[in-house]
Each structure stands twice: as structure tokens, then as C-alpha cells.
Subunit: 245 residues, 2 copies
Amino acid sequence: MQNNQERNPPKFAAIKEFIFSQIESGSWPEHSRVPSENELCTQFGVSRMTARRALQELTEQGVLYRTQGVGSFVASAKSQSALLEIRNIADDIQARGHFHSAELVQLTELPCPAVVATALGLNRNDPVFFSLIVHYDNQQPLQLEARYVNPQQIPDYLKQDFVQQTPHEYLSAVAPLTEADHLVEAVLPDDFTCKYLKIQKTEPCLRLTRRTFSRGGAVSFAYLTSAGSRYRLGGHLNIKPNHKN
Amino acid sequence: MQNNQERNPPKFAAIKEFIFSQIESGSWPEHSRVPSENELCTQFGVSRMTARRALQELTEQGVLYRTQGVGSFVASAKSQSALLEIRNIADDIQARGHFHSAELVQLTELPCPAVVATALGLNRNDPVFFSLIVHYDNQQPLQLEARYVNPQQIPDYLKQDFVQQTPHEYLSAVAPLTEADHLVEAVLPDDFTCKYLKIQKTEPCLRLTRRTFSRGGAVSFAYLTSAGSRYRLGGHLNIKPNHKN
DNA sequence: TGCTGTTGATTGTATATACAAGAGCTTCAG
DNA sequence: CTGAAGCTCTTGTATATACAATCAACAGCA
């Protein structure tokens, strides 16, 4: 795997990439059927065991699920990534600028996901501003933040610090969350997170959520995703109450 | 997998169990060679692809590692699980009793692991008491606790609640940790955790550590492992400062 | 001694084939 | 109309075979 010197790209890898790209581009939506083993055989001119291996590995990676006697299907985005759907937009807007130890890699407008709508008191599919920020600590990517901003609260938002907090300040800001929010969960990283945090697909991550408020109401909602192993050193995750407002 | 009704136990599974049992019992120590694919073919009277599948899956599970041209070897216990070494003892002592919503599934004495020695102020390989506790919430396994108890502090330990705290109380007790401890990390579950929390190998877990103290010093050290998905409902992880001492 | 090439063992990839098991559908008898 | 039987497609397991790629060890030569 690590010694892949373009010697002889395996056929099953090509099939995997084909299937993954179809899902990634949205051509094959959630829970839709993917070609059966035999169909892949004829499409790619390979034996069934080779086609099978591609489907098998994608299943182990959580991209597909299969049922004997029925077929293979695209797993839900929830099990893959909430960010997968916007990945195609992101590649164009990388590296917008540097602010302290953080980097804004994406800034766009999106229809509001359900979770965010609830958190910000908006309606589903109302427009929200979406930004993606990588936080660094001594040149090492430490945390990926997906931030949704309430457009109705932009004036208040601009008064807040944007990307100027250190990662430690971000983490210590978690405490004043309301009970309705997820506090922390463990997830497998999506491709986006892998890319920016420079980790493997199999390395579990920590995800925290944070809401900020002003007198006018909820201003922003953010997912803060960190590589689990980056926090095994003592002191990083020194959560303490931090009620400033 | 879940519909294993003893219909037709696959041959590759039998080979996997054989290899795993050899490692578990210590017959095949770390980094020792395991039989090659062809050797397993003749030993078990199967084809190479079947023997290969057994080795392959054990490699994916972190039990073995393989090198082309060389062979297959037993992975270090560190990459498997710190609990693997005592798994053979555990099966006998399951379901000792029920205390509220927790179940003590193992109780034994062990040489002190390095991490625990540091946490409790003991020397490496000093004897410690080890207990394994499954916490339930409404019949659903919620958390697996691996608790190491300082034998020198047993009197103080017996004064503390044993398995009578609710999972929520356990989590809220995290706050008074010293900075030297890991607070929270995301890990992939070992076989033990899979078994007791009824989750898949691929579902990432949250792991917290907790130390308890008395006037005499550190009393116990525990790993608290929870299925990540179990805590996505609001309110479970309501961490707040809880300095009772 | 030191280097090179060969050889054998082992794992990686791939094909062709076969049968079992599960799920959905059609057909047909009652 | 209903239920049972059968058909077909799908995935799961298994075999036999072949070649490629990698590594260790050995033999032979300078």
C-alpha cells in the first residue's frame, strides 16, 4: 500500500475509484443501487472475484452496504460525511488566506441543513453562510471547523473574532454549550477531514459542536473536528467553564 | 454476520479462530511467524484463497501483519488491545452480578501496566486489581469501564461507591481530572469493547480516563469507553464542573 | 572479502468455475 | 383471492490455477 510506485495499478482499485467518484459527484445518491458483481464484470472486463473485491472493500470502508440476495447500495451520507455533498465546490477555493494559526479554505452560501436550522432557529433550506477553517498548531493541522453563520445575524457575527482564536481557546469555549447541542462524539473522518488534518480514513476523530449567541439570538453553529491522536498529550483538551457572556 | 444460525460455519472462520486462539493462549508470541498460506492449505485441507482470507481478515483486525516475500507475523499486543492478554480469563467470570444498571464482568489481579503505574504512583508490574464493568442505560450497553485499583488504597476504595453511579454521574465526574491525564480520545474498539457494547469493529468510540483520590493518594484509575453513536442524543454528555473534594 | 545473480518461499493480483443461501418475483393450483 | 412452488438474480463461500512482485538466502565469481 505505502509502496505504490505506479508499478501496476490493480484493477480492483480502478473499480473502487470509479464507484467512489460516482457517489462523490452525486450521480449515485444515497441508498441507490450500485452495479452488481456480474454487471461490473462485464463493464470492466474482469472476473467476478475482482469486481467483488472492489465492492467488498468499499463496504468495509462504510461507503456501501450489501444484502445477500438483493444487491449493493450507497450508504447514507451520515455514515460517510455531512460534508461530502459540498466537496466538489471546495477544491476551487482553497487557501484563501492565513490568519494567525488558522486557514480559511472555503467560504460559500448553502441551503441550511436540518441540524443547523434547528440550532440557529432558521427554516430548512434557508440560505446560510458556510465556511471551512483549518486550525494549526506549530504547523501541524489540529482541527477542522465547519461553521454555519446565521445571515440574519451577520452584523453581530462581524463583531466576533473570526479565525483569531487559538485552538485551545476554541476547545475551552465548548463549555457554555446549551444542553440541546451535541457536546462530543467520535466519528470516522470524511475525505475532507482526511485531507486537511492529514490523517488516514481509519483514524477516529473527535467532533464537538459549538453555538455562539448574541442578544439577537443564535449567530453561528460549528462542527469542530480533531484527529483523536492529536489530543493524547496532556493539556490540550483542558476543558473548563468559560462563561464570558 | 448477525444472522449466524450455525447453518454452515465457514472454513475461513475456523482458521481464524485457530490462529487467534494460538495467539491468545500465548503459544504464538508477538512478532513470531504464523503458518504461511500454503502451510495452512495443507494443515486444514483448504484452498489457498480460503487460507488467505483468514490471514487477510486477521490482518485487517490488527491481529497480524504481513510482508510480501517474507510471511505473516503476530502483531504486538499494543496494536491489538491491552485487554487481549487477559481475555481468556474473562470468559469464565462473566455476569458475576448486577448492581443497578451496571454489570461486573471481570475481576482479577494483574501486573500493573505502565500507564496505570504512572497514574497511581506505583511501580511497573506491581500487582493491581483489575475490574471490567459494563454500564447499561435502559437495557442498552452504554459504557465499558476498565478500572485499575491501587491495592494499597483498598480501604479507601471500599468506602467509595463501586458500581452504583449512573453513567451520567460517571461522565460528570470527569471534570476534576488532573491535567496530566488524558481527558478524552477517540479510538477504534477492541474485541472486548465490541462484545460488551454490541458494536462493530468500525464504529469509533470515545474513551475517557478518570482517577479517584483519597487523602492517602490515588485510589483508582479507569478507562471509560463508550460507543460514539450512543451519545449523539442531547443531554447525555452534560459535562460540568463537579469538584466535590 | 565483497559483489552479483540465481533460486526458492511468500504474499499480491487475477481468472474461471461451482455451489450455497437469501430475497424478490412470477406462475399456478386450490 | 390466497398460498405454495418454482424461477431468477444477487451475494456468500470455496476450489484450482496462474503469474507477478518482493524478500531472504545461497552460490559463484572477481
